[in-house]
Symmetry: C2
């Protein structure tokens, strides 16, 4: 058994190493690659993706998994060998349905499209991206059709990111959430608006980056096993347990973008850094689902990073980091500014209350496109219509409209947005559980200490990587299935207080 | 024929793309990788190297080359298809002698050793590197032994970098050169020393980098198809014709390091950027030999970058870039300082006259190690002994001694140093030819214009990539075989004047 297990791990590790090498190429493409490098880079990314797929679907992996099944099934469910064989089989059975050449094509398209989007976004030129997006829609449909028998064409794509989820379940869940959020947003926006002008003063880039780095280091992001760089669109990428990188962006006239993006990505990255190193190079060695991943980023960004306790410690430091700039702003005014709720245009900058409206409309648009109800050429208009209907705002252009998020342009339509809202829900479920176990977490936070929370997350969530599915993990950690109640309770309490709602 | 040629190009391009992808991993390892990333990175680099080797030795390439031989041999020698088939065959026949697993092992060792060296160099700890260097010596010997029938064990390694060269030829050539250089150094160092203290004032890093970038942009390095970053040891790396990157380093108390390193690497990079894009992904799409490559870096660094004409244009700009710092230094004093000849410790900082003494002693030490005459553990002492004998100086430690150059520690002993001296020789041969064709080059230079020289190099050298061997290229461009005479003439004229020798 030992020999077979070792052989399996070697084969899986090689497939994983191809993916990781490709992630380095992708990271470089977004951070430092000169413009001239784009075309060869797309070809190289496609090649490595195809190779990774070939390796991951090597029939020898299938044979070894068959041979190891009796061994694995006799182990406790959470034994790492049992989990390895279980998760490897799930991945293998999914992957063998997709031809490597198709994967190569999809990555080539994604890389080409990314290059076009980078330029088009700056130039507010949706039309330049349209032919790419049309091909991406077609490719996403083809990908789904490698998994016939679905209920909704988005299901295979959703399932890949959030195992076990389906369009119908999500539509119900999101409808339920929307029913609660719409009146909450209504109630809040009928109150006098919070003044967030303190966040919109001049904060030089270097100072913002330094403050963000100091902050996330204190939260627990390990710079010996990672780094932060600048990109259009912040992201986290894992090359190994010893190298999990994040990116951020800076607006010198808006403090929130860099700081909260950095905390958000550090949340993702601490999850990846916290996975047991022994899982490196195995299918267990990465976060278990998009939703659980976002639960970590959104928990740190919002539940922690936008809490009053957090700012009790950090606000004097922020004031010191930008001398003179915030002297006239009290902690309370700052805390309120950082939590201003408003009907706005940019998802990544949105407050906690309206955020899910941004996500859910994208989710709906994805499904409409996949179903063939919405054509790519009509997407900008549909975008504006939905923003007007759901948020009551209209972007002046596509740059702050349909071009704002990289996701679709990077190669896939379908399955890429639901994770954010799932993350908000799961994150508060986890946090409520952590609080029950350690009621001292908020007071630790006021002292700038995050060790209890970080250790609890590591112990209960991070270390396992993909050992458990999202559903299993939520049940195991919180004792309950996925539920929107803790999230609604959290929002209503926090924003009820901030906006003096009754 | 067309189909076969296309298939051949596809296969060669995939092998090349694996190497390029690996170069991205290597670049990242040297520039931005956090310390925790080292171990997985080594494994990933080894994997890609093995794959590249597997692809490059695919028997289908051999079959296609056989099928294409009659077609290629009926074309003119310099036709790009003829060259492609010719050079691809040469590479293929070389590569099939080396097992892919050995390549993987060699790269793994190189990556591990590089990580150890990076730390050991800072800590002046040769002992930490010794076991790695011993394994590298062993691996280099094994590599050579895949090519039995050599005259000297270093020959296959030399031949790989500088096709057609051998230890005996080089020993003769170097002996000839040494006979001329030793008395020249003697004569110069018996003159009153030049004062180079103006170069050793305080020059802040940001200003040095900005000045270096402006300079190399003006020489012709295209930042849309490249970039410059910081590393311990400067290097050039090519990912594609659209992405050729360089690195540099900065000493704030020594102006020459960053500036001349940048020009040196830009020389390499302009060669790579100037290769016809159609050669991208083929065996023609890279510089033809280490010697020709160094001819370009050394030509730009020294013949151009340390010439008086060059500084007529750049010196006022340098003064302006560091306000107040060089006001009391005349152009002439600066020019002399930038060309000070001295018996010194660091190869990359050495002046043009002593430089080859640094190279030749490394070459000799390489041969001694490969022959088994010198053990790795005795290398630091042998280093000190040779420096004392050849240059009359002794490093205070190994950091400025045997640990200074990355080459051996990066994975190979043998074949890695001769190119520098060959480059000095070939570079002046080329330059003398360019001058005959365009006597106006020096006066253009005085006006900060480098277009005539750059275009001449592009036309005669760059565009061809590996189409011609070094020997063929030298003969074709200069009308003569490799000769040290132009180089000696250049040195004697320039330094005779600088040091008032008769």
């Amino acid at each position: 058994m030992d020999t077979k297990l070792r052989e399996l791990k070697t084969l899986l590790c090689e497939a994983s190493d191809f993916r990781s090498a490709n992630s380095v190429l992708g990271w470089d493409q977004s951070t430092y690659m000169p413009i001239g490098g784009g075309s060869a880079r797309g070809r190289q990314i496609a090649l490595l993706a195809r190779l990774a797929q070939e390796r991951a679907t090597d029939p020898q992996i299938g044979r070894l998994l068959d041979d190891l099944r009796p061994y694995a099934e006799n182990l406790p469910y959470d034994h790492s060998d049992a989990a390895l064989v279980r998760v490897a089989r799930r991945n293998y059975e999914r992957l063998i349905k997709i031809p490597p050449a198709f994967i190569g094509e999809m990555y080539q398209l994604g890389a080409d499209s990314y290059n076009v989007w980078s330029k088009a976004r700056t130039e507010n030129d949706f039309q330049a991206t349209q032919p790419y997006l049309e091909r991406i829609l077609d490719t996403s449909r083809r990908l789904a059709n490698y998994f016939p028998g679905y209920e909704h064409i988005a299901d295979p794509l959703i399932d890949d990111a959030d195992y076990g989820m389906k369009a119908t379940i999500l539509r119900q869940l999101f409808a339920q959430l929307r029913r609660e959020l719409v009146p909450l947003v209504q109630a809040i926006t009928s109150q006098p608006p919070i003044d967030d002008s303190p966040l919109r003063r001049h904060f030089p880039q270097a100072g913002q980056l330094a403050f963000a780095e100091d902050t996330i280091r204190r939260l627990g992001y390990d710079f010996n096993r990672g780094r932060q760089d600048l990109t259009h669109h912040p992201f986290t990428t894992r090359f190994s347990s010893g190298d999990v990188r994040i990116t951020t962006r800076v607006q010198e006239d808006y403090l929130s973008d860099c700081l909260f993006s950095s905390i958000h990505e550090a949340g993702h990255a601490m999850y990846e850094q916290g996975i047991r190193p022994e899982h490196d190079g195995t299918p267990l060695g990465t976060g278990t689902s998009a939703g659980v991943h976002e639960s970590q980023s959104r928990l740190w960004e919002n539940v922690v990073g936008r809490s009053r306790g957090f700012w009790e410690y950090f606000y004097p430091r922020l004031q010191a980091a930008f001398p003179g700039q915030l002297d006239d702003v009290s902690l309370d005014e700052f805390y309120r500014a950082a939590n201003k709720v408003e009907r706005s245009l940019i998802r990544t900058d949105a407050d906690e209350v309206t955020y899910n409206l941004h996500v859910m409309l994208r989710f709906d648009l994805e499904l409409d496109m996949l179903e063939g109800k919405l054509r790519v050429k009509d997407l900008p208009e549909a975008w504006h219509t939905r923003y007007m209907a759901d948020l009551g705002v209209q972007a002046p252009d596509d740059r702050d409209g349909v071009l704002q998020d990289v996701h679709w342009y990077a190669g896939q339509i379908g399955g890429v947005f639901q994770g954010y809202t799932l993350g908000n829900i799961i994150g508060t479920q986890f946090y409520a559980t952590a609080l029950r176990a350690h009621p001292e977490i908020p007071s630790e936070m006021q002292r700038g200490q995050f060790n209890i929370l970080h250790s609890w997350l590591e112990e209960n969530i991070y270390q396992y990587g993909s050992t458990f599915t999202a559903d299993e993990l939520v049940l195991r950690v919180t004792g309950e299935p996925l539920s929107i109640l803790p999230y609604l309770m959290y929002l209503k309490t926090k924003y009820g207080e901030l906006y003096s709602l009754v």
